[in-house]
């Protein structure tokens, strides 16, 4: 029995770390949704695009090289440099800020006051455009993200727990790093929104557009800021996921896992995104561990969605979301 218990505990730990990543992606959704009422279908593709850009910049890839070569008959592929990770990340952040600005300027500035469904459709278009644009810019081959992060099983933890309980826990180093980074990021975001002028303006815009205008807040600036933050969060999520399983198209599908997280936590709550992510991460691992063998496994594929469905039936606003009040 204790053996079974340790296995379950190990599964839960691993789930906790996956959950942190789900939470990060969900956080990107919440940021944009709160401030502008836009449900950003492109969040997953943004993570993919950010990770591709990071790899491309670090490897010194020439952007649009296929296009350039086809048009000019040249044969350029690489600048011939390898940049350190820090420089690469800073430049990628710059690209994501530029992206946020362009998205606001070209698309959403012209859609102010439109129905949510129209805003949503615009983000679907954006997602598919970005997918193609990313491929055109950096090529569609699978890339490896080579960051100086610790990998493999944490031997120290394995030994320490083995000596303590007689059972060694297998915890991935990368997962632990991802968790720490995610926690720091979330804490920084919370501090930023609570204690800075721009954070206060962000909360104000999320609450009431008209009132925000009346105190002199430039909505466009705040929306660019929010999209930039979402882009940054997407970068972190993309890097963590990409470092684990390579930068390829399937990375953009993590957005789909964020959907049940949002159903659980509520679309408007930052703590909700975090708690929801953790519940889904741990829940799907434990469910697979206990129930999986009975139903033939592969429960991780659907557990989150069924849980979300239950929430939709019994608590549609999620755990922390704004209560839905309908006037009759």
């Amino acid at each position: 029995m204790p053996e079974q218990f340790y296995w379950a505990l190990e599964a839960a730990f691993n789930g906790l770390m996956t959950g942190v990543l789900y939470a990060l992606v969900a956080l990107g959704f919440v940021l944009i949704y709160k401030a502008s009422g836009i449900f950003n279908y492109a969040q997953g593709v943004m993570a993919l695009f950010a990770a591709m850009t990071l790899v491309g910049i670090m490897e010194g890839q020439v952007p649009f090289s296929h296009l350039i070569n086809a048009a000019l008959g040249t044969d350029v592929h690489h600048f011939g440099w390898h940049l350190p990770a820090v420089v690469g990340i800073l430049l990628t952040v710059g690209v994501m800020i530029l992206f946020a600005w362009v998205v606001q300027k070209v698309i959403f500035k012209h859609l102010i006051g439109q129905e949510p469904i129209i805003l949503f459709m615009a983000t679907i278009g954006l997602a598919y455009f970005m997918e193609g644009f990313g491929d055109l810019m950096w090529g569609s081959d699978i890339k490896t993200l080579d960051l100086p992060l610790p990998r493999g099983t944490n031997m120290w933890l394995d030994e320490a727990t083995f000596n303590l309980f007689g059972y060694g826990f297998f915890i991935n180093n990368l997962d632990m790093v991802a968790t720490v980074i995610a926690i720091v990021l979330v804490a920084a975001l919370v501090l930023f929104s609570q204690y800075t002028k721009q954070g206060r303006a962000m909360r104000a815009v999320a609450d009431d557009h008209q009132a925000a205008l009346s105190v002199g807040i430039n909505l466009n600036f705040i929306w660019v800021l929010v999209w930039s933050l979402a882009g940054f969060v997407a970068l972190v999520a993309g890097v963590m996921w990409g470092a684990n399983s390579g930068v390829q198209f399937s990375l953009s599908l993590i957005a789909l896992k964020a959907l049940p997280v949002l159903m659980l936590g509520g679309f408007t709550s930052i703590p909700g995104a975090i708690v929801g992510g953790l519940i889904i991460g741990v829940g799907e691992k434990l469910f697979e561990f206990f129930i999986g063998p009975m139903v033939g496994g592969a429960t991780e594929n659907w557990f989150a969605y069924v849980l979300a469905l239950l929430f939709l039936v019994f608590r549609p606003q999620g755990l922390f979301g704004d209560k839905i009040i309908e006037r009759v």
Partner: protein, 274 residues
Amino acid sequence: MNMTAQDDGYTTADGRKIGPVMMEMKNITLRFGGVKAITDISFDIREGEIRAIIGPNGAGKSSMLNVISGFYIPQEGEVWYKGARRPQMRPFEVARQGIARTFQNIALFEGMSVLDNVMTGRLNHMSTNLLQQGMWYGKAQKEEIANRETVERVIDFLEIQSIRKTPVSRLPYGLKKRVELARALAAEPTLLLLDEPMAGMNVEEKEDMSRFILDVNDEFGTTIALIEHDMGVVMDLSDRVVVMDYGKKIGDGTPDEVRSNQDVIDAYLGVAHD
């Protein structure tokens, strides 16, 4: 009382000195599709004045306030502010020019505390950029503290110390109105626009609000333009009154002048049009 746009103002009955024209609306016409909300209206607001816009429901008062604060853009006419013609501006730019406002249906940040709400009024007085704010060090911190002091003074002034930390969504209507006034005051506006500050209040709350409006004008010298359809309150508060009906101006002058204006009496009491 004879006034032209060029003179330096006048002295009120209670001895307050009113300055030169601060804001002038020239031949404003505002249409929504085929409906004319405002038809060719001109009037001015002087420095230090309490100026009221009154009229029956649907007269176009709120539309006029929205024109002044930049929420509506009139099809015709000019807005002059501090001696210069104001180019077409978005509402947040108008706010940055020192024009603060409240709303008829209260537009507060419901999820935030009273203190945070009032602090948003200071946003335009904070000059540190994103990077400095992100570091939260030195200048940003000093700035926050200085602005916090101003906010505390406003909170004391409006006697809402006891609810500083309360989320706004939990406050009763009358107090929400007062918090909204506090947020507008925190901006230290040169022109304060109040959209029906007394709507939906009981007699006691109305008296409190009237006192605050007079005190604000008296203590900070803030110029105030307010809209009200309750005639009694307005006449006691304001120095000059514009009367609107069906989008047109039907009277303009001191409360006494307006009270004896036949058009105004007709508009308020109703008159048989044959």
